[in-house]
Symmetry: C2
Subunit: 516 residues, 2 copies
């Protein structure tokens, strides 16, 4: 039993106020707690601004990349210990935990590698220079420079390692110190990672601070050079985006929120084809990995109406083979959801879906014994137009099949009813169908994943977020954008147009010859 500490202002601090209890979601055993109060956020921000930020920016992009490499190594070194914590506090199977932890270290390593091709200093040219005057003498060059602010990262409970790691990687490489708030239910893993980061001494003091508990009040203190990156529910996201101080001071906000992602089986794949096989396999992984608690997981499965029976049978068979259990047991392929609150929400959500859909397998009924378990639950919509299908994210091992007529137009219409999603996947070898579908759904999605004969065995499924391509989506998905290589740094950098004599601007700030 432990009360998690926060690391702010250069020391570990025990919180105060009403504790929130942390559980093992497989056994409901109490593991510790977090307490919301007792932190001096003004001092934390000052510490980041006066110590962490200047120390990071004294290094330049390339050296900061080396710090990320060392952090990746540190996580990898403690992988087994962290996997065990992820099982106990997160309900993660070994596979789930590796997905989270290797995602974190892999993303840190990706940005470390990216840094090797960046300038040594802090000035990153953006595009080519351009002539602005009557002659080439008067010249313009856009540059990106680190903002002298603080990055506040409000992380979700579902990826305590990866979520924190991917946000940290971009901010730290940009040269901006971070304050990491852990998602409460799974805070033990984030806490242990924070301990490793601090103990390692890899980062300069003030570059990394960690909050277990609450950041209530912190947002009211942020200024124009700061940034907030949030992952979590739409409702909390809207509270952050609408925060009076953030609005008044034009503080940058990036949100990753709910998303009713879809998978589309095209009209062409035969049941014995590789494309069809990928479709089934990816849907099952998305529904059951992390017990379906992924913001990128599929929630709507679009199937040509004539194939609904066959797909329902195939998915039912695979899903019924996955029995939720304690992830510390080696043969368990799916753990519980993260908390009693999640369990309640998921069951209520399944009931809401079941009002407009038939339950193919699983359902909302309680399972015997302790633990926050939900069986893999597949539904089949009676009415594809029912709004709840396109509006309700059930954040657990649950998805709904929806029939469509096999045309790209119908699939586009259904996908886009999600109101903006992180990802859609499509499975087809019909080029014309794929092209039409992508052009129709891309504006409503941050990412489109295409499965075809040739991708068999080549790729992680649509649920995996890769650091080279952006993560985020419009509208309902939060309207944000993270990762995508250098694109992910832009939240923390200021783009400025420098205009003047070409001999000065081009040489000092352009591609040739970097300052400092």
């Amino acid at each position: 039993m432990i009360s998690l500490q926060s690391y702010v202002g250069g020391r570990w601090v025990t919180g105060s106020g009403d504790p929130k209890t942390l559980h093992d979601p497989a056994t409901e055993a109490v593991l510790g707690d977090v307490r919301p109060g007792g932190l001096d956020f003004g001092a934390a921000l000052a510490h980041a601004r006066t110590r962490g930020g200047p120390a990071l920016r004294a290094l330049g992009f390339r050296q900061r990349g080396e710090l990320l490499k060392a952090l990746a190594g540190k996580l990898h070194e403690h992988r087994d210990e962290l996997i065990e914590i992820a099982a106990r506090n997160g309900g993660n199977t070994r596979g789930d935990a590796k997905f989270d932890l290797d995602g974190a270290s892999g993303t840190l390593a990706f940005y470390a590698q990216l840094a090797t091709s960046m300038p040594a200093g802090n000035c990153l040219p953006d595009g080519e220079g351009l002539q602005l005057g009557r002659t080439p003498r008067f010249w313009g060059q856009h540059v990106w420079l680190p903002r002298p602010g603080v990055a506040v990262h409000v992380n979700a409970f579902n990826f305590p390692a990866w979520g924190m790691g991917e946000k940290m990687a971009c901010a730290l490489l940009a040269g901006v110190p971070v304050i990491e708030k852990a998602g409460t239910p799974s805070a033990l893993l984030a806490y242990r990672i924070a301990q490793l980061v601090i103990e390692s001494g890899i980062l300069p003091e003030g570059a990394f601070q960690f909050v277990a508990g609450s950041v209530s009040g912190l947002l009211d203190l942020l200024g124009p050079m700061d940034a907030v990156a949030f992952t979590g529910s739409s409702a909390t996201g809207a509270l952050i985006r609408g925060n009076r101080n953030l609005v008044a001071r034009n503080v940058r906000v990036n949100l990753e929120a709910d998303s009713i992602n879809s998978a589309v089986l095209g009209p062409d794949p035969e049941a014995d084809s590789d494309t069809y096989g990928q479709f089934l396999a990816n849907v099952v992984v998305d529904m059951t990995q992390k017990a379906g608690q992924k913001c990128t997981a599929v929630r709507r499965i679009l199937v040509p109406s004539g194939q609904l029976d066959e797909v329902a049978d195939a998915l039912r068979e695979r899903l019924q083979a996955i029995v939720p259990g304690n992830p510390l047991q080696a043969d368990v392929r799916m753990g519980p959801v993260a908390s009693a609150e999640q369990l309640r929400d998921v069951r209520a959500g399944i009931d809401r879906l079941a009002a407009v859909a038939q339950v193919v397998t699983g359902g909302s009924r309680p399972l015997p014994g302790p633990g926050y378990f939900v069986p893999p639950t597949l539904l089949r919509a009676r009415d594809p137009d029912a709004a709840v299908l396109h509006e309700l994210e059930v954040f657990g091992p649950c998805a709904t099949m929806i029939g469509y007529d096999g045309s790209a137009a119908a699939a586009i219409d259904l996908c886009n009813r999600g109101g903006g999603s992180l990802v859609a996947s499509a499975y087809s070898d019909d080029r014309s169908f794929v092209e039409q579908l992508v052009l129709g759904i891309a504006p409503w999605h941050g990412r489109v994943w295409l499965g075809s004969e040739k991708t068999q065995g080549q790729a992680l499924g649509p649920g995996a977020v890769l650091p080279g391509t952006i993560h985020g989506g419009p509208g309902r998905a939060g309207g944000g954008e993270e990762l995508g290589g250098l694109r992910g740094l832009s939240l923390y950098l200021q783009r400025t147009a420098v205009q003047g004599d070409r001999a000065v601007v081009g040489r000092t700030f352009g591609g040739e010859g970097q300052p400092g």
Copy 2:
């Protein structure tokens, strides 16, 4: 006497409700009015979404560029008529009016030219493709596609032509229909331009709608694919950014707001140098062009303390030669401010500055006769640390000299106290000073303009917004970004990562071989 109409839903509509009177600011003669009510915004949005948007997107980037070219030509064709309206309703001298009108047609023409190097279709690749899997088979390509929404442009009164033109250019080229709200005091010019746009038939029906009056209520109807671009005061900007519907639905918002821009005279220029001469000339232009009603105009003039007397003398002499008057008279070099409300605000602002600064020339005293006239007003700060100097934008022909010790560090500190500005200019031939200054102020500015011996006679001053470089600034300046070539389209496009078989993704969505 005319009551301005709006063009919505395919027809001209007369507003209803309490009229706001439009004046000739030089004579206070009544020219017409605008009325806030009577428009069906739901129908206007539907018209844009179902007619204007699809018609624009049926064209592709290159053909849309041709529309912009035709619009630029139409404005140029009516230049003399428009200059006269700008004088009567805007208080613009001929030079001011040309700055606004040629800015509009020039920006439209710039984007028309840019379009010739864009894809013919609607799919704009973003960067190179990249390997995502174990082999190059699994591939990623970021693309930009037009969002199927509506661009709502809330324009400021100071640049009725340019402001509307630059926003329109980016949205229309992106493939997004616009609803243009005119700044009320100068709405006659925007109205006439709207008439020309509609009469010309250049744009497909629904691609351009025009609102004279108010957009109150319109923002509550926007959805995730829409965007709002606003230019005006911080206070109104915060109301827009904080609008409950825009927050809840993650509607994109771009703000250009107040800005306490600075000009820095470096420690080196001698009084007879070209660099020093540019400094004086640009400051005088910025203070008096458009009667100082430019969001990019200089408000703080940083001068090495030892040179304050000499600079004050030189600026006083030049400013006193500029006597405000009716811009319809050919010899008048500066007109009135735009409205009685502006006059009141500018006078009150000068008084607030005069509490911490000495008036070198001009001042807040009323001038004889009718018209909203303010003399060019230069102040000299007694205390450089007085907060009002760095926080109050007096939106008229007014700026304050502030002494500093000639070091880059001191200049950086003062410039950045503006809390985020659109532009800072610096005049120096000392490379080390310039480099240090730029790296220090760039994160707080959208643009930095460098004057030196070599830029003499080569460039428009820092007040001019060029379409090739970004316009916007962090924090106080709104946190937005417009123009900058292709960068200016990003508000209206969705960036999406397409992942799949390289043979499909690379060929269909990558650099080689554009769809449709």
